[in-house]
């Protein structure tokens, strides 16, 4: 098991991967990817019990993760490869023709670690609930994790799923919302206010936790705590405060880097702020 210090080192490398990947094809979504890096690293390198040696779609007996806001694929691809799902060198194919690393994640090209396509927003929570129900039918005690963008929860299907999970006590499910307060057209507060997220999810019957998603110690502690709260009759929601663009000063805290790649000079500046800890791909 990796120490928190080791997780931080992995996160630094993942952030390097993200900015290099989007720079290489001059497209992709660095902002949300950088903001959620600490969550992904903690999840895959510390919290989730995954079966890496014999990856299969059914995922029986292992924890599952569903990325509902599929546009932050760069962070997921980096973490999956750094974990060992596929060669790190494949990160260089991101968004290029014939790649398994499509702009948005897909099962279509057979990339290990991905169990459903995402990109069109609002669908991942329903799919995760289905997978969680299958685990219950299979008497499989492992846990299902999901991540959503805060803008994404403007989609109505999220609330259909929220209502269902609470009513049916889907308590092997730990969801998280990346609360960075930004979406493509600007701050969520201006585009369409999310209101009191804790009150909303509690009113829907979920157990709500909050954490600073850019503090590795807190992320690990909260996710591990959430795991102890499964199996008690309630789905769990973690409201994860992050800063979009975290780790690259000129990308932090603005929606402007939601879906824009850095140019050569900006890449250099970004990489100078991110220590290479595991070697670049």
């Amino acid at each position: 098991m990796q120490s928190t210090e080791e997780l931080k080192k992995i996160a630094s490398q993942v952030r390097r991967d993200i900015v290099r990947m989007v720079h290489a094809v001059n497209s992709g979504h660095p902002g949300g990817s950088l903001g959620c890096t600490d969550y992904f690293v903690a999840l895959y390198f510390r919290v989730m019990n995954v079966n890496l040696s014999s990856w299969n779609m059914d995922g029986k007996g292992e924890d599952l993760f569903f990325l509902s806001n599929g546009h932050i694929s760069p962070v997921w691809y980096s973490v999956l490869s750094r974990k060992g799902y596929f060669p790190v060198s494949e990160l260089s194919t991101f968004r290029k023709i014939n790649t398994r690393l499509q702009g948005h994640p897909t099962t279509h090209e057979g990339l290990p670690g991905i169990r459903v396509a995402s990109g069109s927003l609002g669908q991942g929570l329903s799919v995760a609930i289905g997978a969680a129900l299958a685990k219950k039918l299979n008497n499989d005690k492992s846990t299902v994790f999901t991540l959503h963008g805060d803008g994404e929860i403007q989609e109505g299907q999220i609330w259909e799923a929220a209502m269902y999970a609470a009513h049916n006590k889907v308590d092997n499910l730990i969801s998280a919302i990346d609360v960075n307060g930004q979406q493509i057209d600007g701050p969520t507060s201006k585009v369409l206010s999310l209101g009191n997220l804790r009150a909303k999810w509690e009113a829907f019957g979920w157990l709500v936790l909050e954490m600073n998603g850019n503090d590795m110690d807190e992320v690990v502690k909260t996710l591990e705590h959430a795991k102890t709260l499964t199996g008690k009759g309630q789905p769990i929601m973690i409201l994860m405060k992050t800063e979009m663009g975290k780790g690259v000063d000129f990308m932090e805290g603005t929606h402007k880097w939601h879906g824009v790649a850095p140019n050569d000079a900006e890449l250099e500046k970004a990489l100078s702020q991110l220590e290479m800890t595991l070697g670049d791909y």
């Binding site: 990109g119 609930i129 997978a131 109505g156 269902y164």
Partner: protein, 320 residues
Amino acid sequence: MLNFEIKSSNDTRSGFGDGLSELGRTNPRVVALCADLVGSLKMDTFIKENPDRFFQIGIAEANMMGIAAGLTIGGYIPFTGTFANFSTGRVYDQIRQSIAYSDKNVKICASHAGLTLGEDGATHQILEDVGMMAMLPNMTVINPCDYNQTKAATIAIAAHHGPVYLRFGRPKVPVFTAPDHKFEIGKAWHIHQGSDVTIIATGHLVWKSIEAALILESEGITVDLINIHTIKPLDVKAIVDSVAKTGAVVTAEEHQITGGLGSMVAQVIATHQPAPIEFVGVQDSFGESGTPDQLMKKYGLEKENIVAAAKKVVARKVMA
């Protein structure tokens, strides 16, 4: 001689319900989901016999499609049940991304398709569903014609890996296939041999096409009658072989003439065996309230319409 006995009258949705019940007893991987229409979909027996394998979703069809996709992860074969309108148009993007593109083994079972839904009117009478589903890569589309064929199709799709759209209807209609009707996905049922015109029908229009063929044969026009229950993948060979023999085609379906069986048959014959073709179907309009019989008559989906289309296409053949 074309000779058919109506064994009884029953609704195709009961064929689905009874097929699902049988699957519940024989295949432990089959699970069912419904969006608040259990009775309409005839799912009661499955639910009673397999309460742990049934999921009541509530009025939330998008969520139902997602949950169905998720249930396949873990090895289950989900059958979703709701009206055809709510099974397709309402949830097109969910089906496209989470099921078809993700290659999930979900069976989308859709009742009350078409005009024969009746009095509820156009909001519920979907006539575009076959086209929408058939356009999706990876999707199999099946529209059975009577109780026995619907039951057989329901059982058959559980053994087929991949997403399937199974379309059936509300009213009681003649049962004319055998109880042990052999159903093979993608394989047309060649109902009757003839040489003057090919009639290709699906769903509720199959019985009406049989009635039309009887009239045509009494007037000396012999009909090669084909039931296409699997609209995708189409049995191209059955269509081409028939048209090579007759040189004229009529398609009949309870669907818009754009995007459904007729469009797809036209594409096949234009590519492989060019011949005149006439389309019996809804002509780019919405439905309305009325009894199923009144609606089929008003919108031109009766045996008389098929007879007229057949005579017209035969005349066009002579001119050509």
